[in-house]
Amino acid sequence: MTDKPVVIVGGGPAGLIAATAAAEQGANVILVDREKHAGGILNQCIHTGFGLAFYKEELTGPEFAERAAASALVKGVKFMNETSVLSVSGKTVSVINEHGVSDIDAGAVVLCTGCRERPRGALHIPGTRPAGVYTAGLAQKLVNIAGFLPGKRIVILGSGDIGLIMARRLTLEGAEVLAVVEVMPAPGGLRRNIVQCLDDFGIPLYLSHTVTDIRGKNRVEGVTIAKVDEKFNPVEGTSFDLDCDTLLLSVGLIPENEIAETAGAEIDPASNGMLVDENLMTTVDGVFGCGNALHVHNLVDDLAVEAAQAGKNAALYAAGHVFAPCTIPVVNDGAFGNVVPARVSGTQPAVIRFRVRRPQKGAAVSVGTFSKRFAHLQPNTMESVTVPADAFTDKKEAVLCLNNTL
């Protein structure tokens, strides 16, 4: 039983930390990653702000990745780099690399496949299709890894954290960032990033605005920006043009679950994340999920806690541990954008992670007989509550409720 390995799919922060946690339980762990070097997206996130909670030290992305990979190695995790997972069937993981296709017979699988950026095609922006439209993360890779500046005069659509970070990066590397344009009335990224990435460099932020046209034949020559109303429709007479050679898109991240689908794991159609129970097991027995493939996190430090739980549980499962059946569905009362997990057992404390749909001041989040008060809740910030087992008094469903306490 215990000889079968725990297979971790993905070598980003979630995969590295899940692998380490599984190995700490004594499991034989194989981490499969398509890249040559572990660390995933952290390697292109050269800014600081990582590790404060997890390593008690402020690190850059590559530094965090290097520490996480070193810990995994020390704990005996075996790395299969430059190897892609083709599919997962039952607990058989089919992989391909330069030696060909092979199958790994796993005792448990943890899917740590991360997320992808929402592309231009999902936005319905009118205009031509010139070169010079990039997602923010692609621009980040071009600048920080490959050493290319994607343009000289740049407009950024969307105020997600990657877009804000790139506004600063591109400015520091010699480009001019003309504007960050956000369709919502509030920024998508963290407040600190507005301050240190935009305000520090005098980059204007246009809230409740969007890009209504992209101009240019071979290369982007300019964009048209307009104010939007409450229904996000452009307001006539408010549009203005900016001449630029590049448009970056920072308009959201979507969990990447193609491999989870091959395993037959149920996906939440609203978030595109895997549906998991309180142990972070998907709807497929022995297949676990964590990290941005489950729901997109703000902070790698929070993600690390979740990933460690998934890795530990996968190791327990592989060693023959049987978890209490999770028969109580967790129900969103409608105030939350996303709630993880989807099911709990009511026999152990459960961590419930969520985002609110609208900003809240002085609100309480409750489940069963448990309630916790929050001074502020923001849609751009994931929060969590740890609900004790005896709070789940209703065995038919556990409704996550938001109550204004002001």
């Binding site: 600048v143 490959a146 301050v195």
Partner: protein
């Protein structure tokens, strides 16, 4: 005369709104910070703001074209652009180890420029 400034702390993702009381050009007290690290940040922010710079240097013969770098301690905010430009004019030979001092006293005020990733030589 005392005056009050509100600054958003960027030390950690909490992003506290900190009120700093300034008397005669000196930051005398702060409130609103949820941890003690906010105090020196907020005081410096109204007098002479500082930031840790992360930037890139070119890598010669490495597995990547660029090596991420950071300053060993915060540098003056007003110098960020010039220092990033200076970093980009530097080429170092692979391999580099994370934490290697690439340039000592990079900003003229005692902050060293450190490699922030280990990158091997190509081939």
């Amino acid at each position: 005369m005392s005056e009050q400034h509100v600054v958003t702390c960027t030390v950690c993702p909490n992003g506290c709104e900190i009120t700093v009381t300034v008397e005669n050009g000196q930051a005398v007290s702060v409130s609103g910070n949820r941890c003690k690290r906010g105090e020196p940040y907020a005081k410096a922010e109204v007098v002479n703001p500082v930031r840790t710079l992360t930037a890139l240097v070119r890598l010669n013969g490495g597995e990547c074209a660029m090596c991420p770098v950071k300053t060993s301690r915060p540098v003056f905010k007003k110098d960020l652009k010039a220092l990033a430009e200076k970093a980009l004019s530097i080429t170092v030979d692979a391999p580099v180890r994370c934490g290697d001092v690439l340039v000592s006293d990079f900003d003229g005020n005692g902050a060293d420029l450190l490699a922030a990733r280990s990158i091997g030589a190509k081939g």
